[in-house]
């Protein structure tokens, strides 16, 4: 057998050359880094993904900027019903005009806007008497019942960190729960699996938006959720309750595949316990699909927030809250004095008024850019991680 040994060990020393492709000759980098490089290479070849990354980076920059210095988005002074008198800028009754601080008031019924506002005057709606009037471009009216104006620019800036923060928190928590449940259910199988999966089915068969709404609608009545911070927590809780089943289902499907792999059995054969199997073997090999799903959801959730607000549902502690989705939603929802948006359109159609398009255009645009960039990135990731779909 000795020469057998010689014969066997000899080849390897020779084949090292071929076994190591020339690209990796010499000092090898850490293989994990090599893997990341590989993924990064495929990402880089995917233009859309790159676009997504760039936009995201910008947004994150904005968020950090917005966090670092406090941006004033205090409310302007209120309009009072008695202030509705004619003004020169637009000959529509009941309008008011505003002028930048420091300059002379053009008329007796014009209001001083705090410093930092653009001086140009653009039409908007004085909701206090539901008639048409004018207000600085870049201000946003909130609700028919509460005629206060907020700075749209400030809102946009602050919105970035809220949107990112809230969605990341929700997705992270949901994914964690889903991972646990899915792994348990997939690994142990049997009646545990059955039970958990039935529950998941139940949760998944309730339309998500409605589910979030009813959960929050009910929990909001509980006293613990009254203070500001708890309101945000409530929001996150509501979404997580609805969201974890998705991840649970994905993980479980993946685990069922991985569980059958031989290397799991090998670990079992060398005495590994259930915990080790799950943590060291099964979960590491079944998380990738989750990453993709998570990245998609991070983009989706702000949209849903917006939808909730649009449905006239007070998700947030104060009625106005600097989160793009809700900004856009609020403006669409209540930017017009008319009972419905269509009415406003119909009435404004013949130049009787100007639709305050900027009020939902800009938040909407931010929202859209954010979501689409996240999706670009997610899709790129999927292609880069999934060898089958590689180009």
């Amino acid at each position: 057998m000795a020469e057998g040994a010689a014969e066997v060990s000899l080849p390897e020393s020779e084949t090292k050359a071929e076994a190591v492709p020339a690209t990796r000759r010499g000092r090898r980098p850490n293989p994990r880094i090599a893997q990341m490089k590989r993924t990064w290479y495929f990402l880089r070849r995917n233009t859309l993904a790159m676009v997504g990354i760039v936009i995201l980076v910008i947004f994150i920059g904005i968020a950090i900027y917005a966090l670092t210095q406090p941006i004033p988005w205090t409310q302007l002074q209120q309009l009072r019903a008695s202030d509705g008198v004619t003004c020169a800028s637009l000959n529509v009754t009941g309008c008011v005009c505003t002028y930048p601080a420091g300059s002379v008031a053009p008329g007796p019924t014009c209001y001083q806007t705090p410093s930092g506002y653009p001086s140009d005057v653009a039409p908007t709606i004085d909701v206090s008497h539901g008639t048409l009037g004018s207000l600085p471009l870049g201000s946003i009216t909130v609700a028919p019942t509460n005629p206060t104006f907020y700075d749209i620019y400030a809102g946009l800036l602050r919105g970035s960190d809220w949107s990112l923060g809230v969605s990341v928190a929700i997705v992270g928590t949901g994914a964690l729960i889903g991972l646990l449940v899915g792994a348990i259910s997939g690994f142990f199988g049997g009646w545990v699996d059955e039970a958990l999966m039935r529950i998941v089915d139940i949760f998944l068969s309730i339309p998500q938006i409605l589910f979030v709404i009813i959960v929050i609608a009910v929990l909001v009545t509980l006293p613990i959720f009254q203070p500001f911070g708890m309101r945000v927590a409530l929001l996150i809780v509501g979404f997580v309750i609805v969201w974890w089943p998705f991840y649970a289902r994905i993980v479980r499907g993946q685990v069922l595949v991985v569980r059958e792999q031989k290397y799991v059995e090998a670990a079992k054969a060398s005495g590994a316990g259930g915990g080790r199997l799950v943590l060291r073997h099964i979960i590491p090999n079944s998380v990738y699909p989750i990453f993709v799903q998570m990245s998609l959801d991070v983009g989706t959730i702000p949209l849903l927030l917006g939808t909730l607000v649009y449905l006239g549902f007070p998700v947030f502690p104060t009625i106005y809250f600097p989160e793009w989705g809700s900004m856009a939603a609020l403006s669409v929802y209540s930017g017009v004095g008319a009972s419905t948006f269509t009415d406003a359109l119909l009435t404004c159609q013949f130049g009787a008024c100007v639709i305050p398009w900027w009020q939902f255009l800009f938040p909407g645009l931010m929202l859209f850019l954010y979501a689409i960039s996240v999706n670009f990135l997610a899709d790129g990731l999927r292609d880069a991680l999934d060898p089958r779909l590689r180009r």
């Binding site: 014969e7 020779e14 084949t15 071929e18 492709p21 690209t23 180009r391």
Partner: protein, 543 residues
Amino acid sequence: MEAVSQPVLETPVLPAEVPLPSAAAAPVVEEPTGPTERNPVVLDVRDLKTYFFTYDGVVLALDGVSFKVRRGETLGLVGETGCGKSVTAFSVTRLIPDPPGRVISGKVLFRGIDLLWGLDAEARIRIDPKTGRAKVRRSFRRIKAGLERMSAVRGRGISMIFQEPTQAMNPVFSVSDQISEALILHQGTHIVDDILAATPGAPEVRPALEALVEVTRAAGGPDASRQAAAKVGEAAHLSSFGTQSFYLVRDSELGSEDMVRRLEKGLHRVRLSRLEKRYLRHRRRRMVVEEELHDLYLAEMREGRVDRHQRRVLRARRTRLRLAGFYYGVWGIRGRVQRPLRDEAFWRTVGRLEEVSIANPVQVARGYPHELSGGMLQRVMITMALAVEPTILIADEPTTALDVTIQAQILELMRGLKTRIGTAILLITHDLAVIAEVADRVCVMYAGQIVETAPARDLYQHPLHPYTQGLLASIPNLERPDKKLSSIPGSVPDLIHPPEGCRFHPRCPYAMPVCKEVRPPTTVEGSEHTVACHLYKGPVAME
């Protein structure tokens, strides 16, 4: 097409005269007399190069592969995994997944027709010198045209069977669907003609049926009733009619009196309604156009130029006919009008399945792939591949996924079929023993090149190339088990950075300095025995 009923023996010298055996081709009558020089070359692969463009770089999967296949012979292509056996097969039929793979250059002369014609126009390839990665700019229009051209050859000229029969069959269609698809595709016109010419109502059918029933009642054994059934077929001028009646009788209990009437009811389908007749004629017209198109494509490949006008004319006609076809769809009665054709194809399928010695062909034909065992499926695959006797059958590891006993069955079957219909077989496998069982000549491949080609006996008795020798030595041998297994050191090199010179030299026990620089030429050693190794100094082989 119908005119050509006999495949003519031809030489690759003047291919223009030689059309393909059309679907009409009757089975070749004369026994192929083994692979001798006399037999014409049906497949001539010259200096085939196929590359894969991947993240790590360009994989030189095939680097100048040349071989010939003669009519009625079995050529074995053997080598380790990753040596490019299957790639060769797919390059020949242009089934290489693209991206990432592409056939770069070379000729594949099938009966004198270059299947790779117009290839280099399909894509521009620029290889980045420093990363080693390639940019491939494809012209999709040309690629599409090329594939369409290939469809004139696939199936009828060259057909294939694959390694994993369970995955090579479409899971959602029944066996009969898949086989009869091939039948209709290649023999459609004849099937339609036969249906239209059939005379199920003829007076002599009834007595034949009665005879059949009688014979079966008398338990004359399967053969007797088979003959009787054949008589029925003749009477109705539709052989499948006989097959069907045979199984109807066999599967129905014989006690009942009105057997014959029930039989006639069962066979009633062939009495066509006017609508069905019209539909059949329509289908036939479409099939004819398809065949004309195929002939056109062959002509294009043969003459190496495109007849745009003719192509446009035919395609326009095809489109018109397809549109006209909606007429039958619009009424939502397609299923019904198609039934005669379907049934005919089904019973022909059953007939084919009988030929590959499947015990209960009707059930198998009705079954779905997931219901059948691997061996059974492989038989079905073979039936499908040989639905119209193709000139060449490429078998890619046909028995690797099967058990030993089943493998024995399949090999028997292939041998039998080969002698019955003189199809040339290109057998691809990693198992030298299997090759030894069936192949007449053997090509040994290593790292994308053919290192040795020889008649089977010759190869196994005195292999020349060190690789071949090592390979043969490393097979655990039932006869001499105690002899210690010798193995080839190392493993197959990765083909992105193949070794310079002779690709085998890192593993070669006789490696010489020259091996590291120069790629050895293919030299002729003995009759039909060529080898690519610096050890041998014979005359350099002609391409």
